[in-house]
């Protein structure tokens, strides 16, 4: 049966009506919040964030200066290099005749200046047999966790970061300031909380992400190298929550008692309810400017290792307000921090609003619908050639041929 579009449309109408009703109130609160951000004195913000009132149920960004501070970009160096790695994957499909997954890592290196050049590549990697499991042998017994779904997504993210160091070593000129760019967040939000077994966290962070970040930091000691991640259309509220904390007139215990994680029933901090960081910075920043530097207080980054705490700022590219994240070793180096700002802005200008290096890395990595079908056919053919059965599930067959 097809979707009942009539009933769906009625519900969408109701939803749009309620959004419209809340719009005026939201605009007024946004304007008040922007003023409050501008007025927030750095010392007051710091005092609130480091004092006894700092414990809250909501995540807030730790600010190094005034919440409303802004910085213009510096000019780009004559010669520089921007590179990026992205990934795409085909997840384990239990309706397929054999369990396997594919991770495709794509990347690009773009050299600008006196000797412009580009290098594009992609590298597929099949996960099958033992590679499809995280395993651990302890005195209590063996643990085995299948790598599929969200865990495969996290493994892919780690593979993207791991791919940067060899790419820089082999393809980026050592004497040119280099920016390594990733798509999306460096904060593994999916691992925050207690949803995954310890083995997953160990494998993804301690044995995956941290060594990859260590390798990049080590390289950055020998050459001008910055690492940053670009989040387009961010939906974070950490900076807005920093304002919420700054405005809050309750102590920590009372706030935890009466306020919800996403909103407060009390004025003045209720002015921040449901506002996104990017909405605030659209008002606070002029095109080209970045916000002050924040660091996240998400607990997951505590596990990244020393120097890898994630910092971020918001950047008005002229087309949108994006979130730019970087490890602390980049953020605390003024020259590298400035390089991220300048070169990301330059990339968005060359890329019609989106960093061209990320865009090209994505194009190299993406596995389209046709390729996905071909992958499945290759698996089938390979099994048939070896005299193996390729009978998939009846459910899969039924979906492909929805007969009447």
């Amino acid at each position: 049966m097809s979707l009942n579009l009539g009933k769906t449309a009625q519900q969408i109408e109701g939803f749009a009506h309620s959004l419209k009703g809340a719009q005026n109130d939201r605009s007024r609160r946004l304007s008040e919040a922007v003023d409050a951000m501008r007025r927030a004195a750095p010392e007051e913000v710091r005092a609130k964030q480091s004092g006894p009132a700092a414990q809250r149920r909501f995540l807030y960004a730790v600010a190094g200066e005034g919440l409303g501070a802004s910085h213009p970009p510096k000019s780009a160096p004559g010669n520089f290099c921007v590179l990026s790695v992205d990934g795409s994957h085909i997840d384990v499909d239990r309706h397929m005749p054999a369990a396997c997954a594919l991770v495709n890592i794509g990347g690009c290196v773009l050299r600008y200046g006196d000797d412009p050049d580009a290098y594009l590549y992609n590298e597929p990697s099949l996960y099958s047999d033992d590679r499809l499991y995280l395993t651990e042998q302890t005195p209590e017994g063996a643990t085995e966790i299948p790598i599929e779904g969200a865990i495969l997504g996290l493994m892919r993210t780690v593979e993207e970061v791991k791919a940067l160091a060899p790419l820089i070593r082999d393809k980026a000129p050592a004497d040119a300031p280099t920016l390594a760019l990733l798509d999306g967040s460096l904060i593994l939000w999916a691992l925050a909380g207690q949803g995954y077994p310890e083995l997953v966290r160990t494998e993804i962070i301690q044995r995956g992400l941290t060594p990859a970040l260590d390798a990049l930091r080590e390289m950055s000691r020998r050459r001008v190298l910055a690492l940053a991640a670009y989040v387009s259309l961010p939906r974070s509220r950490e900076a807005a929550n920093a304002l919420r904390l700054h405005l809050c007139e309750f102590d920590s215990a009372e706030c935890k008692r009466v306020c919800r994680p996403r909103r407060s029933p009390h004025s003045p901090c209720s002015m921040v309810n449901h506002l996104l960081d990017r909405e605030l910075f659209e008002e606070l920043l002029a095109p080209g400017q970045r916000s002050c530097l924040f660091s996240t207080n998400s607990s997951i980054v505590d596990e990244y290792g020393r120097g890898h705490r994630i910092c971020f700022y918001y950047l008005h590219t002229g087309e949108e307000v994006a979130r730019v994240e970087m490890p602390e070793w980049v953020a605390l180096d003024k020259a590298l921090l400035s390089l991220t700002h300048t070169l990301i802005l330059d990339q968005t200008r060359r890329g019609m609003g989106y960093p061209v290096a990320i865009s090209e890395a994505h194009e190299q990595a993406v596995i389209g619908g046709g390729d996905r079908r071909t992958f499945r056919e290759l698996v089938d053919r390979s099994l048939v050639r070896r005299g193996m059965s390729i009978s998939g599930s009846e459910k899969s067959r039924s979906k492909r041929m929805a007969w009447v």
Binding site: R111, Y112, P116, A118, L120, R350, V356, E360
Partner: protein
């Protein structure tokens, strides 16, 4: 490092009558009307169209040079373009090697996909272009503007041949026989060759 042995590119489409060659380097292609020697056993392919387009047909090329002073600046500012665009040659297959000598006409088999394309040596081009069968093949092809390709081909071959005038004379005679009932068309071609 450049392409080996002066190669132009590789065959990416092939049939008995036509083939397409993707050049190894952007904009580094022989001109319209040039002959290429393709594959092994070799066939001779006449370049009837040179095009440059996105390597991925799903990605449209967009304007990028609004603030640039020159076209070169556009390419310098967007170094990835060299890897995302490609120059392709549409070719008419006009001859092959028989008993060690080039002959005009269709080969028994088309070149393999990925066959290498080289510039055609001048002596082999001269032997082909002088042949009456060459003119007949071109005039009877379904090219949208065969006369333009004939003129471009003969001019090039004439410049490269040891006896250019003699070559043009022989090719002109061959055209005259084929176009004896289309004198204005023949004259239009010959005028452009002199």
């Amino acid at each position: 490092m450049g392409p080996a042995q002066g190669r132009i590119g590789e065959v990416v489409e092939a049939s008995s009558r036509r083939c397409a060659v993707q050049c190894y380097r952007l904009y580094e292609s022989p001109p319209l009307g040039a002959l290429a020697r393709v594959g092994d056993p070799p066939v001779y392919a006449l370049i009837t169209e040179v095009s440059t387009e996105a390597l991925d047909p799903g990605r449209p090329v967009i304007a990028r040079g609004e603030d640039a002073a020159t076209v070169e600046e556009v390419y310098r500012s967007n170094p990835q373009l060299d890897k995302l665009l490609c120059t392709r040659l549409r070719c008419l297959i006009v001859g092959h090697l028989r008993d060690g000598a080039p002959v005009a006409g269709l080969p028994p088999l088309p070149p393999k996909i990925h066959s290498f394309a080289h510039p055609c040596p001048a002596d082999e081009a001269e032997a082909l272009v002088s042949s009456p069968d060459f003119a007949r093949l071109l005039l009877n092809s379904d090219l949208p503007s065969p006369d333009e390709v004939i003129v471009a081909c003969l001019r090039l071959a004439g410049r490269q041949a040891a006896d250019g005038q003699g070559l043009l004379h022989r090719a002109g005679n061959a055209l005259a026989r084929e176009l004896s009932d289309q004198v204005p068309r023949l004259n239009a071609i010959l005028r452009r060759l002199t």
